[in-house]
Every structure is written in structure tokens, then in C-alpha cells.
């Protein structure tokens, strides 16, 4: 970060030159391969995805199909974006791909861009993957069963501030899948632990606590995610800095459920 006022105009003549190695794959069935592209005039103020937009404009003009990649909010909250950049999920900084900016890179860099790799996240095309396995994990209990209209007055439930704050901290997970992408075992424990901890911290989440953890873990395993070996690559890659505590909590909840005979 520099302390200068941004008076630079957007010049495309003297920006950075980059060599991009990007995974291309036509559809889920066809094998893919890495392709090399050259891009010039990249402004350091561009976001990583805007850099890819510019590449796509160039490809389109050259008659080559643009590269498919996912994004939506482009402000780091929806969790839609996610690329493996030089071997790191969301790139070298603790943020989402859409909030990574080109000033992190230097002129002449070679950047390798791959999709999230996990068999539970099959590649759909180029850099887009299918993360619906996350939704199915949530379907297995990542909620409090309360029908609309049946809720008691909000102030009838008091929640100690510590618990409320912790629940919030872990509820900020955006479901991006970087934890899975970064995990050497392809495990989704951090994602799952975040939800278990969020609901487990709150009084509202207690009634279904045992069933929740058993069913969510069951689905996790069924989807083909790997088991956790507590290495910590997930936390390091997580743009929301979800701590490893949540995996400990997940394990503890499962152990408790086991003791309760679930």
C-alpha cells in the first residue's frame, strides 16, 4: 500500500506484461489442459478478475472463446469467485479472488490459474466448478428448524455477548470452497465446522445439535471429501479467516453425539 493519491490514469500502453497459464476445459466430460496467454497493459488498480475480463475481451476480439470463470458480487461476500492462483487458493493474500488486485503482482510475472480441485467439486468448464455438495451438507442440518411465524419474541432469548460474537465470527463463512481447494486431503471440515460452531454457540441451535453434526458429517463423507489431518492449510487460505477452532468444535460435537448414541 502506498500513501500517494491516485492520480494515475488508466493507461493500457505502459501497464504490466503478464504470462498467464490457465486451465481450459470444454465441459465436465472432456479432459482439460493448461494454455498459455500473454497479456499487456495490465493496470495495478485492476482486480484480478478485471484482469481476466481484459484478457477475455482480447480473446473475443481474436475469435477465441473467452475463459469461463465465476464471480458475482465482486466485493468479497458472495463466495462465488475462487481460483487457484500460483498454487494458492484465492492467491497470495488473505482475501477473495475478486478482491485481489494486480498491484500484488509485478511486471513480467508468470501466473498459473487453475480451478478448485476436488472430486466433490467437479469442473464444469474452464475455471468453473460445481460446489453444490456444500448446499447438500447444509441440507443435512445446517439450520434451526423453526417454521415461519412460530418464533417467540426476539428478546425472550438472551445470548451472552461472547457467544453471540463467536457465532457471528464463524457465521461469516462465504461458502467459497477455498478451504477444500487448499486442503491436501480435500476435506471440507472448516466449512462444516464453521456452521456447526455458529449454530452450536447459540441457544437456538441446541435442540438439534447431535443430529446436525452426525448428518452433516455423513453427507460430507458421502460427497467424497477427505478426512481432516489438522494441517491448517484451510485456515490459511480462508478469506474470512475462519479459525481452526471450528474443526475442534466439530470433532467434539461428533464425539458428544457418539456418546449420546447417534
Amino acid at each position: 500500500m502506498t500513501a500517494t493519491a491516485g492520480t494515475e490514469s488508466d493507461t493500457t500502453s505502459d501497464g504490466m506484461k503478464l504470462t498467464l497459464k490457465i486451465w481450459r476445459q470444454a465441459n465436465p466430460e472432456t479432459p482439460g489442459a493448461m494454455h498459455t496467454f500473454h497479456l499487456e497493459g495490465v493496470s495495478p488498480d485492476m482486480s484480478f478478475l478485471e484482469m481476466l475480463d481484459v484478457l477475455n475481451e482480447q480473446l473475443n476480439a481474436e475469435g477465441e472463446e473467452p475463459i469461463a470463470f465465476d464471480s458475482d458480487c465482486r466485493e468479497g461476500i458472495c463466495g462465488m469467485c475462487g481460483l487457484m492462483i500460483n498454487g494458492q487458493a484465492h492467491g497470495p493474500e488473505v482475501t477473495t479472488t475478486c478482491q485481489l488486485h494486480m498491484r500484488t503482482f509485478s511486471d513480467g510475472d508468470e501466473i498459473t490459474i487453475e480451478p478448485w480441485r476436488a472430486d466433490a467439486f467437479p469442473v464444469l468448464k474452464d475455471l468453473c466448478v460445481d460446489r453444490s455438495s456444500f448446499d447438500r451438507i447444509i441440507q443435512q442440518g445446517g439450520y434451526v428448524s423453526v417454521n415461519t411465524g412460530s418464533a417467540p419474541e426476539a428478546h425472550s432469548i438472551q445470548v451472552p455477548k461472547d457467544a453471540a460474537d463467536r457465532a457471528f465470527d464463524v457465521a461469516t463463512c462465504i461458502g467459497c470452497g477455498a478451504c477444500v481447494a487448499a486442503c491436501p486431503n480435500g476435506s471440507a471440515s472448516l466449512f462444516m465446522g464453521a456452521k456447526i460452531t455458529h449454530l452450536g454457540e447459540l441457544p437456538q441451535g441446541q435442540a438439534e445439535r447431535d443430529a446436525r453434526v452426525v448428518n452433516m458429517v455423513g453427507q460430507h463423507d458421502h460427497e467424497g471429501f477427505g478426512g481432516c489431518t489438522n494441517i491448517g492449510e484451510c485456515t490459511a487460505a480462508c478469506p474470512k479467516e475462519i479459525p481452526l477452532d471450528v474443526i475442534s468444535q466439530l470433532n467434539k460435537d461428533l464425539r458428544t453425539a457418539m456418546r449420546h448414541g447417534h
Binding site: K21, W23, P28, E29, M84, N86, G87, Q88, T112, E114, R117, A118, D119, A120, P122, S132, D135, R136, Q139, Q140, P184, N185, G186, S187, V213, V214, N215, V217, G218, Q219, H220, D221, H222, E223, G224, F225, G226, G227, C228, T229, N230, I231, G232, E233, T235, A236, P243, L244, D245, I247, S248, Q249, L250, N251, K252, D253, L254, R255, M258, H262
Partner: protein
Amino acid sequence: MSHPPRPSGFRSGDTVACVATPTLIKGSRSTRSTIALKLLMAVTGLVFIGYVLLHMYGNLKVFAGQEAFDEYAHHLRTFGEPMLPYGGLLWTVRVVLLLSIVGHAYAAFALWARAGRARTQKYVVRKAVASTLSSKMMRWGGVALLLFVIFHLLHFTTQTVHPGGVTESPYERVVNSFAPEYWYLTVIYLLAMVALAMHLRHGVWSASQTLGLTNSAASRTRANLAGVFLAVVIAGGFALVPLSILLGLVD
């Protein structure tokens, strides 16, 4: 092809065929989960830790001289008599250890295979940022330990391998084996201790995490420190014996 689960009974005349692709699993059991396997590893791992601590304590008796050491080895076999038969405790421990190693190794290999299946297409470029060397070595290091344990049993227990000659005195077996002329044995043992140290460094932390004991940043730091501490103490304690013999401090 993966799709969101399609409905199985939507009534109107849809054009979409109902493909039942990814399914929701019913009737999950906690005992059938990957976490159950992890718990098995953690518990059996703790059994090993308990055992190696005692084992190390016993080994250090070498420094008390031949008599004390042989006495100790004998005592291990007569412990609990007449309630237990001769060698009863030893056999009980052996059975527990054998079951543990089977359970531990089974879980390790099952999870290893699972991790392999979880990512069949590897990354072209991969940069690990948080992994410790120990954590990366758990699996191959574990295999090395298993091989070492087998070797160790062949060496000291069955004396199938007997570089320093077969003898009745455990003390002599130890001292003879680590004599300078069999320096390579010392190297094997020391390497094994490095492997053990690394396995413990990550294993202690990992077991704490698996058992759900590390629910805060502070407790995580403690678990990591405990890992380093136990690794140094146990591996160091074991290494003292061969090193001392090699250097001629014990004869």
C-alpha cells in the same frame, strides 16, 4: 455430470428428466464417519504415547547399570504375580498395542486412500503455506515407524536380528548392539527417533484437535507446544541410550 438433485415427483409436465444424481444420504451414524476414524487414530495414538513414555523411562534405567536394568526387565514380566501369570502384564500390553497398531494403521490407510480419491486431478502448481514438515510426513513417517517397530521387535524381542550376539541379559543386548562397530544400528535407531519426533510433534497437536480440546487460539498454542515438548522429551530420551553407548559413556 453433476446437477442439483432433481425432484422425484414434480407433477406438472416438465421437460426435465428427473435424474437422481447427487443424493442426500439417510441414516448417517457417527461411528461410520471419517471423524470416527480420526478419533480411533487419536485414541490409539495416545495409547502409543503412554507406552513410549514408559518404555523410554525403562530404557533410561540403562544408566543405573546392568543390575538395575535387568532387574527392571524381569520385574516387567513378574509384575502382578500371582494375580497375573508370568509375563501377564507384558502380554496384556502387547495385545493392547497390537490392537492399537492395527486400528491406528487401518484408520491411517483408510483416510489416506480417501484423501487420494478426494482429489484425483492434481494441481499443476501447489504452494503450501501452513503445513509443518511434520504434518506432511505423518503418513510416510508412520509407515517408517511401522517398519521400524517390526525391525525393533526382530532385533530386541525375538533376536532374529542379533548383531551383537544372542544373550539372556537385556542390558547386554542393548550395550552390544550400540557398540561402535555396529554404528549403522545406531543410525537406524536415531533416524527412527527423528521420525518418531516428527510424528509426535504433529500427532499430539492433531490428537488434541481431533478430540475437540482445542477450542481457542490459546489452547491451540498449548497443544502445539505440547507436541514439540513430547517430541523432544520422548525422542531425545530414547536417543540418549544409543548415543551414550556409542560415545562410550555406558559400557
